[in-house]
């Protein structure tokens, strides 16, 4: 994913035919994942809000990595503390099996 981005960026500044090549490749559409908290303008990620946190906790109870969820670094950090706090007071499981 990262490599792909870098390539496309290089293609933009590089030669013309190269650019065409890249844009040809771009025909298969990859939906850009976007940070939920940035889009919805959520400022505070509280540990009490289970409904807000639950989409980021897959079945096993692990915290979803941001390469999957697309959350930005700032919000992933806030999300991480919120989830860990919620676990402590048994709002969210540490593990499920």
């Amino acid at each position: 994913m990262g490599d792909y981005e870098k390539e496309s960026r290089g293609g933009r500044s590089g030669g013309k035919d190269k650019k065409d090549d890249k844009s040809g490749k771009r025909t298969f559409f990859r939906r850009r994942r976007v940070c939920k908290f940035c889009v919805e303008k959520i400022d505070y990620i509280g540990y009490k809000d289970v409904k807000l946190l639950s989409p980021f906790i897959p079945e096993r109870g692990k915290i979803q990595p941001r390469r999957i969820s697309g959350v930005c670094a700032t919000h992933q950090r806030a999300l991480q503390t919120a989830i860990k706090r919620a676990r402590q007071i048994a709002l969210i499981p540490y593990t499920t099996d």
Binding site: V39, A73, A78, R87, Y94
Partner: protein, 157 residues
């Protein structure tokens, strides 16, 4: 004296404990808070909830949230005290004033930026009612959200 900070205390008692027992725990918390010159801003019972995992063979618990203003030394004592109360099966004290301040700041900053942008475009600083309604409709449509996000998040990372 020492600076006043805001903390949130959440504790869980077994669901079968009586009102009197709950009041007793609350009183003990209040005593500690008072001794350090703090105040309980609000006390919010969440009631009975299912626990995400078993604690001391309890599957359910009664949650209570207290918002406390006080010095930092208070938390250590509160923590120690709550651990000795057998009725409290789980507790947690977290400092919240900094996070809330950050959230407030970013909120006001965003509001300011929006109003500045709107004024530059010759609009009133606050979104009008009709605009808000229209935005609501757009948000109901999932593709609208994704599309706007696509543009916004493209150059990040």
């Amino acid at each position: 004296m020492s600076t006043v900070r805001q903390y949130e205390l959440v504790y869980i008692v077994p669901p079968d404990s009586t009102e009197d027992q709950l009041a007793d725990v609350h009183k003990q918390v209040a005593v500690v808070v008072e001794r350090f010159g703090g105040t309980i801003e609000k006390s919010e019972p969440w009631g009975r909830r299912r626990l995400a995992y078993e604690i001391n063979h309890h599957r359910e618990g009664t949650y209570v949230l207290d918002v406390i203003n006080g010095p930092g030394a208070l938390t250590a004592e509160l923590d120690r005290r709550l651990r000795t109360i057998d009725l409290v099966i789980r507790h947690m004290v977290v400092r919240v004033d900094e996070e809330l301040a950050i959230a407030d700041r970013s909120k006001s900053r965003r509001k300011e930026a929006t109003s500045r942008r709107r004024v530059r475009r010759g609009l009133p600083p606050e979104p009008t009612e009709t605009e808000l309604n229209r935005r609501q409709e757009e948000n109901d449509d999932m593709d609208g959200v994704m599309e706007s996000g696509f543009r916004g998040g493209r150059d990040r990372d």
